[in-house]
């Protein structure tokens, strides 16, 4: 178990590094962490999911201009909501499930950031978040492409998935 935790912590830092610094330097609308979140919700154990959610929340908050805890709370809410959907509505681990979840998780993440901006506005605290329709669509589209690639790769290496629709 310890080996698994260490490997996941290294992977977590790598994904954070990619999302937060490497892609952010130019492709600011590109946030692959949300795809990883959906992927984990669908295919990993709950202990590992929690490790990623809490770890990523802390890492994003350490270097974010938003008040500390913003990402942690949003990721936890996405995790709880996503888990609920998977347990009650999308029980098949299918490609369509991944597409729908990426759409929902990505949209809700951006809506939460916008809601937080409005909320902070009441306390005269500024938020750097900018709701930009082209950026929103670009982010969702790019994440769907990454999700499709990850699904195809996973399907190639494992028999746990089925390329069917709901």
């Amino acid at each position: 178990m310890l080996k698994k935790i260490i490997i996941n912590l290294i992977l977590l830092f790598f994904v954070f590094w990619l999302s937060f610094t490497f892609f952010s330097s130019r492709a600011i609308y590109f946030n692959p962490f949300l795809v990883i979140l959906v992927y984990l919700l669908m295919f990993s154990e709950s202990e590992i999911q929690l490790l990623w959610i809490l770890g990523a929340g802390i890492l994003f908050d350490l270097f974010s201009a938003l008040p500390f805890g913003s990402h942690l709370i949003i990721f936890c809410l996405l995790f709880l909501g996503g888990t609920y959907l998977l347990e009650h509505f999308f029980t098949k681990r299918a490609f369509s499930t991944m597409v729908i979840l990426i759409l929902i998780v990505n949209s809700v993440f951006l809506i939460f950031l916008q809601l937080e901006k409005i909320l902070l506005g009441f306390f005269n605290v500024s938020s750097p978040f900018v709701w930009n329709w082209s950026g929103v669509l670009l982010q969702i589209l790019s994440n769907l492409i990454i999700g499709a690639i990850m699904f195809a790769v996973t399907k190639f290496f494992t028999s746990r998935l089925r390329m069917n629709t709901i």
Binding site: W17, L18, S19, F20, T21, F22, F23, S24, S25, R26, A27, I28, Y29, N31, F33, S46, L50, I53, L54, G57, I58, L59, F60, L62, F63, S64, A65, L66, F68, G69, L72, I73, C76, F79, L80, T83, Y84, E87, L110, L113, S126, S127, P128, F129, V130, W131, N132, G135, V136, Q139
Partner: protein, 261 residues
Amino acid sequence: MSHRRTFYIILAIVIILGGHYLGLWRPIERLATRALSYPLTAGYSWGRDFFSFFGRFQNNADLKKENQDLKERTAVLDGEIISLKEALRQKGITDEQLEFLKQEKLKAVLARVITRGVENNPNQLIIDKGARDGIKNGLVILGRGGVVVGRVTRVEDTSAQILLLTDTSVEMGAADVDGGLLGVVKGNKDLSLRLNYVLKEKKITKGDIIITSGEKDLIPAGLLIGEIDQVFEDEREIFKSARLTQPVDVANTDIVSVILF
């Protein structure tokens, strides 16, 4: 199982946030931000280089035409640079800017850009220096060549948020090279830089150098902001405005100086 999981998550959030806001995790947070600072700034820098390299291939078809245009532009710029340097030298904001700052007893902290964040804001930069290094809200940021690129808008212990001048929420008093207060520089929605509230009787023309007018305890006067590119005048308006250009690629900035004032 579901309720138990939710309970543990809430408990974890309470412990993490409680510890943070009570300052219990501060030593760990400092250690973590310091330790992660290098790989993050390196990642930002590599990403910038990677996308620049990739972009070069993408635009390969236009390179020949662009090259010709650039040659012509360079010839014009060479002439402009000579007059620009002369204007700046006279006002003490030339390459010896550090000397100028020393004379004014001003200190600068060199900081590296960690990220532009995940908040979809092209005008945001997070740097690896914070309150511990003497940075406070409102301080001015200089990019390459000593050009003003933005202001500090939020400070954490070991990091700080910068909003570039092109952001609509950032404002800065501007003056001409004679030092006379001219107007307010503010970002425009199209990511360009505007000089607003210029009195109609004030004469401004394309190519005029714009510098900071100074702000008590935050911004020293005389720092280079840019030059006027286009003047907008409307008879019905009390003021006129202008679009500014900056001599540095602000979006490509990865090392900045924070002026401690």
